[in-house]
């Protein structure tokens, strides 16, 4: 059983309050997701984030195949982190931790996603060809959109997207 991990860091010139307000609002996911993925929230995003929140949406990530995703917000610590976990969707397992912390001039935003793809050995074969590049593309797009929205923060550490 192979569990993959994606880690991404980005530095933004915004206050922790502004970052939390934007990043923890599911309605903003559409803004930072590539248009070709046709991200649509079906339900569950009409309140502020809370543990146990179920969000349903559709997304078309690969080969024009529309997928329904259901995620649950499982953990929240105000202005520090929240976790979403897939309850139903294209992955066998999806556990996404969103961390933010205050640094001089803004915030450090860190995402850690542990995920597993279905189809056993076949899934592992298609991972480097389809899933990994597409996830990287989604995070690169998000990085660009966040720079357009808020600007960028120069730090000694780099903005990075790595797969483990």
């Amino acid at each position: 059983m192979k569990i993959y991990t994606l880690k991404a860091k980005q530095y933004l010139p915004v206050s922790i309050e502004k970052a939390w307000e934007f990043l923890s609002n599911p309605k903003n996911l559409k803004t930072i997701t590539p248009e070709y993925m046709k991200f649509e929230i079906l339900s569950g995003a009409d309140r502020k984030i809370y543990p146990g929140q179920i969000i349903q949406y559709t997304v078309t990530p690969i080969l024009g195949i529309k997928n329904k995703w259901v995620t649950e917000i499982t953990h929240i610590k105000n202005k520090e982190y929240f976790v979403d976990e897939q309850r139903f969707g294209p992955y066998s397992f999806w556990h996404h931790k969103h961390f933010i912390k205050e640094i001089p001039g803004g915030i450090e935003m860190e995402d850690i996603i542990d995920y597993k793809i279905p189809l056993g050995i076949l899934g592992q074969l298609i991972h480097p060809m389809i899933v990994k590049p597409r996830l990287k593309e989604v995070f690169e797009y998000r990085k660009k959109k966040l720079i357009e929205l808020f600007g960028s923060l120069e730090t000694k550490a780099n903005n990075e997207i790595i797969f483990v």
Binding site: P13, V14, S15, P104, G105, G106, I147, E148, F150, G151, S152, L153, E154
Partner: protein, 118 residues
């Protein structure tokens, strides 16, 4: 606070940040920017500061200003404007600058950001 103005711009130099307003329709070339650069150098010496560009008026900034005219101790640039057009222009300028770069619709937000560096 030290204040300087000429036919092209005015600048207010505070401890942690400078507020720059370029006058209407000015083409802010490298030569014009060098006047500002000298003022900044003299005021801040090697001390870090943030530049707040208060875009009250439309003007052009030459790409050379970003490429050659930026001081090492200028830690970041805040663009202040409530106009979408100015924001779009700033997004295009951002890669030329290569340091911390942020957009704000009010001067107060930009000042708070500048202070958060120190």
């Amino acid at each position: 606070m030290e204040h300087f103005s000429n036919d092209f711009f005015q600048v207010d130099l505070y401890d942690q940040y400078a507020i720059l307003t370029i006058h209407e329709n000015v083409d802010f070339s490298l030569n014009r920017a060098s006047i500002l650069r000298d003022k900044l150098k003299k005021h801040y010496e090697s001390k870090g500061f943030i530049m707040i560009s208060h875009r009250k008026f439309e003007h052009k900034t030459s790409p050379e200003v970003y490429k050659q005219g930026v001081l090492d101790n200028m830690k970041g640039l805040a663009i202040v404007s409530s106009k979408t057009k100015e924001r779009d222009k700033a997004i295009l300028e951002q890669p030329l600058f290569g340091k911390s770069f942020a957009f704000f619709s009010t001067l107060e937000e930009a000042k708070a950001w500048a202070k958060s560096f120190f």
